[in-house]
Symmetry: C2
Subunit: 246 residues, 2 copies
């Protein structure tokens, strides 16, 4: 990679931890082609192979586990395995960073307006009948929850996420999923019955376009919808993130 602006000429030799070295080696092996389910041996095996104590290996394992690379199972036949993929873990990593950096309302809504319209277009092309049915269910439920702000907000955000799911693109879905924790609290506090009715109606129209397979219409309707939704500005310098419910 070419040097980006602001990159330091060298990064501090911070690690020098044996466990960090082990993490790096296993990460390399992982990206070198290991796949979910592959076994990596037991704590003792690895301790012996790397020539360190079990404590050090455990440190490395906890780190790899938190990164979502390996899973650990106890008992006979247990040990380390390459993990199955878990999109929510990635979404979680983003909420942590969003909290640390203190994402603003403006950044959040810009991101939504950048991604979601074209996502609706993809959904119109790719959505399965089952996914359309799920969308319809969410819209119907939302109509029935117009007076319950918290529940309505949940359902409305679920609708947006379901659109991302219907788009059939896991990278996009993961990104939108990761914005969810930041969205929730801000949108709930702006939800009145009037707003809820309009949101529910627009969601229905977006759904119709998706069900018809009309990508352009779905895109433009989602675009209009977001233009209205984000016109209720939140406080821009406040931290918005809460932990994802697990």
């Amino acid at each position: 990679m070419a040097t980006a602006p602001g990159d330091k000429p060298w990064r501090p030799v911070q690690g020098a931890r044996a466990s960090g070295e082990i993490v790096e080696q296993i990460r390399k092996a992982f990206f070198g082609g290991m796949m979910p389910g592959d076994r990596l041996g037991t704590e003792s095996d690895l301790a012996e192979q790397f020539g360190v104590s079990r404590i050090t290996i455990r440190d490395a394992i906890r780190s790899l586990e938190a990164q979502g690379i390996v899973t650990v199972r106890v008992g006979a036949g247990g040990g380390l395995r390459i993990a199955e993929s878990d999109p929510d873990r990635y979404a979680d990593a983003l909420s942590i960073q969003l909290h640390l950096m203190g994402i603003t309302w403006e950044e959040l809504t810009e991101a939504m307006r950048s991604v979601e319209p074209s996502t609706a277009g993809l959904a119109a092309r790719h959505a399965s009948g089952e996914q359309v049915a799920r969308l319809r269910g969410l819209v119907d439920d939302a109509h029935a929850a117009l007076d319950d702000a918290a529940r309505f907000t949940d359902l409305a955000l679920d609708f947006h996420l379901a659109v991302a799911e219907a788009a059939g693109n896991r990278a996009i879905r993961a990104f939108l999923r990761s914005l969810r924790s930041a969205q929730h609290m801000k949108f709930e506090e702006n939800t009145s019955r009037e707003v809820a009715e309009r949101v529910a109606r627009m969601h229905g129209e977006i759904l119709d376009a998706i069900a018809d397979g009309d990508a352009d219409l779905a895109t433009s309707r989602m675009n209009e919808h977001l233009a209205l939704v984000v016109s209720h500005p939140g406080k821009s310098d406040e931290h918005l993130c809460v932990p994802l419910t697990q």
Copy 2:
């Protein structure tokens, strides 16, 4: 969140590890409002407060550290602190998940086509003079590297990332940054001198639109650019991800 279809009535009782419990408690405190730099005490402090041994605390710490929530410093006055934000760590989390799920060429290019055009539009509105200068530098360098496929690819991808940076939205930037590792290998192998010339020219035109502050033009030019770029299909069922260079 409302119950998604396919959710099991109850999820398997996993872990029940003491260290996991500690991780959860500290995560809650973190999202409850702790900010970078806040001290959390020492290993021994925490071991006493949670009523567990140092080993258990260390397991929890390694996990929190890998999640990017805390940093650890040794020596007098050391201990746990809430970490500074590090967007690259998040990008890294995504590349792990992309590798595990085996993202396809189609998903990758769809994601780019969904996000980057509007990102170029944001850049046209928000880019500082310094950021425009950086973009121009990258375009010039790319013109000088038309025959060096690897270097040209680096510079071209840096251009796209610099556009995201100029857009001034850290959420979008983090997302595009995280796609980078998947992009690199696929684009390099399709780069001929002919393709490189066209890419460099289009980058220059996108830059001009950004420099002029013409958001619509920047958006449409980026859109056209990507339409061409992704017309070189890679193998769709192959794993594309490699670890980010650190």
